[in-house]
């Protein structure tokens, strides 16, 4: 079993607040441009595909598959040093986008590329949470 990860609070600004507050409500928020329909995984104030600022936010399903991972045995940063070994991963969501995350809720040697996963939130306070994934 992975040890308890103590996630540092991400730097949150005007462009990304909706994403992190969405996580606080346990919703994984993606952006879609109403003008050109392009998807954006990491939120921006405008669509960088067509530069429109007519953007909508919508919750993703939270389901995906593991695209790649690494079991981290050494990280000297406080908070992670104590949590090794932990799993850093890219998850591909059903919506088609890939995001960097951690895999929790299983032994590190049970993690496999291609395995189905589901989002799992670590609440940092009443408004903000960090999305991780666990085996489905």
């Amino acid at each position: 079993m992975t040890k308890r990860l103590k996630h540092p609070t991400p730097g949150i600004d005007w462009e990304t607040r909706a994403y992190w507050e969405g996580c606080g409500r346990h919703e994984l928020i993606l952006q879609r441009c109403r003008s050109c329909r392009a998807l954006q995984q990491r939120p921006r104030a405008l669509c960088v595909s067509c530069l429109s600022d007519d953007i909508e936010h919508f919750p993703a399903s939270g389901r995906g598959t593991l695209y790649s991972f690494t079991v981290t045995h050494q990280n000297q940063a406080p908070g992670f040093r104590e949590a090794t070994p932990y799993v850093l991963a890219y998850v591909e969501l059903e919506e088609g986008v890939r995001l960097l995350t951690n895999i929790v809720g299983c032994a590190t040697d049970e993690v496999r590329i291609g395995m189905p996963v589901m989002v799992d939130y670590a609440d940092l306070d009443e408004n903000i949470a960090v999305p991780r994934f666990r085996p489905l």
Partner: protein, 386 residues
């Protein structure tokens, strides 16, 4: 009018230090400048173009460097695209010289990363750029970013740890032929696999070392270089590229080298088969493997088999990283300049026991940043002067 064949590397110097607690990075750069100027017979006041990048030079580092050296160059370029910066500086210098903006370009790097105990590979990363907030919560390390690429490569193509280890073993053998290399004792594939796991599937010996060090290059017009002390090394081709996570669809196995390599070969007007040796950024064994694939020396997925059976060693079909690379010679935080310095020495035939016989065409590829999350590539095709 093409940039190909117009400019040359006239001077090159690698600082021999690997551990310099008694020196500042600025001092290492100044000593390296002296070495490269002596190498080609120029003086500091001949320099009118200054190029540098560093990890701790400050926001106006190139200006600070000009002040330290009491230089007033008419062209300055502090482009920092990670460890590949100095490879890119060569083509930037060539373009500036070709355009008449300067005549003698000095490219510098110096660092005391090791004696400052900088935890480059496993220190965790927290930055202020927009992507940082989406990385910082998850404990990404430099090794971890490259390990994500390695794991995907293994799963998709069946690449093995033994194949990756072959790169470390070959590079260490080359280091044994370089008296300045930090790590010289031979290692075996078994040694690599038995070394402790840092970030799966990358072991300690899959990772580059940390050292102090620095170096310098002098770039001029080819005609000018022909009047100087050493045989010029001609720039035939160059390319640059960036790889990032796009809007959420990163392909971990298609790296920046694909684009920068194609561009460099196109400009040079030569093919992969013409290349006698490669100097490839080897932050980790996996970096070399996917760089070879993306530069087109083998097909995607064939890198594991390609590096086996002596092909990439001295005497093999495509020898690479003859100085011992970042894996065994030196890696003071950023390594791009050393790729160009060794390529220059090889093309001049100065490398003694590690010399690739008859080397005429060399490919240099620098990777900057983190393969797997955000990185750059800079490629050069260099030729010995006929």
């Amino acid at each position: 009018m093409s940039l190909s064949g117009r400019t040359a590397i006239a001077g090159a110097y690698e600082h021999p230090t690997r551990w310099a607690p008694d020196k500042t990075p600025w001092q290492i750069m100044a000593e390296s400048a002296r070495g490269a100027l002596d190498d080609c017979g120029l003086r500091l006041d001949d320099v009118d173009g200054l190029f540098s990048a560093g990890m701790d030079m400050g926001v106006m580092g190139i200006v600070t460097l000009a002040e330290y050296l009491n230089l007033k160059p008419r062209y300055m370029d502090g482009t920092n695209i990670g460890g590949s910066s100095f490879v890119a500086h060569v083509s930037h210098a060539a373009a500036a010289i070709h355009a008449g903006l300067c005549k003698v370009a000095l490219i510098l790097y110096g660092s005391t990363a090791a004696s400052n105990a900088m935890a480059i590979g496993t220190g965790g990363r927290i930055g202020r750029e927009p992507m940082a907030a989406f990385v910082a919560p998850y404990g990404l390390t430099t090794v971890g970013a490259y390990a994500l690429v390695a794991q995907r490569h293994m799963q998709q193509y069946g690449t093995t740890s033994e194949q990756l280890a072959e790169i470390a073993v070959t590079t260490r053998r080359h280091a044994g032929l370089n008296p300045d290399a930090k790590m010289q004792l031979p290692i075996t594939v078994e040694d690599v696999l038995a070394s402790r796991m840092i970030s799966e599937p990358l072991h300690l010996l899959d990772c580059c070392i940390t050292s102090d060090g620095g170096g310098a290059l002098i770039v001029t017009r080819l005609e000018h270089a022909r009047d100087l002390a050493k045989k010029p090394v001609v720039l035939l081709g160059a390319g640059e590229a960036v790889w990032h996570q796009e809007l959420g669809a990163p392909d971990l196995l298609t790296i920046a080298a694909r684009q920068s390599g194609d561009q460099a070969f196109l400009m040079a007007g030569i093919t992969r088969d013409d290349i006698d040796l490669c100097m490839l950024y080897d932050s980790f064994t996996i970096t070399v493997l996917v760089t070879l694939e993306n530069l087109g020396f083998c097909k995607p997925g064939e890198g594991g088999a390609f590096v086996q059976n002596g092909r990439i060693g001295l005497g093999g079909e495509l020898p690479l990283n003859l100085d011992g690379g970042g894996l065994s010679s030196n890696h003071p935080g950023m390594r791009g300049i050393f790729l160009v310095i060794e390529a220059t020495r090889q093309l001049r035939g100065e490398c003694g026991p590690r010399q690739v016989e008859g080397a005429r065409l060399t490919l240099v590829h620098g990777t900057g940043g983190l393969l797997g999350t955000l990185h750059t590539g800079a490629t050069l095709v260099l030729a010995g002067d006929a």
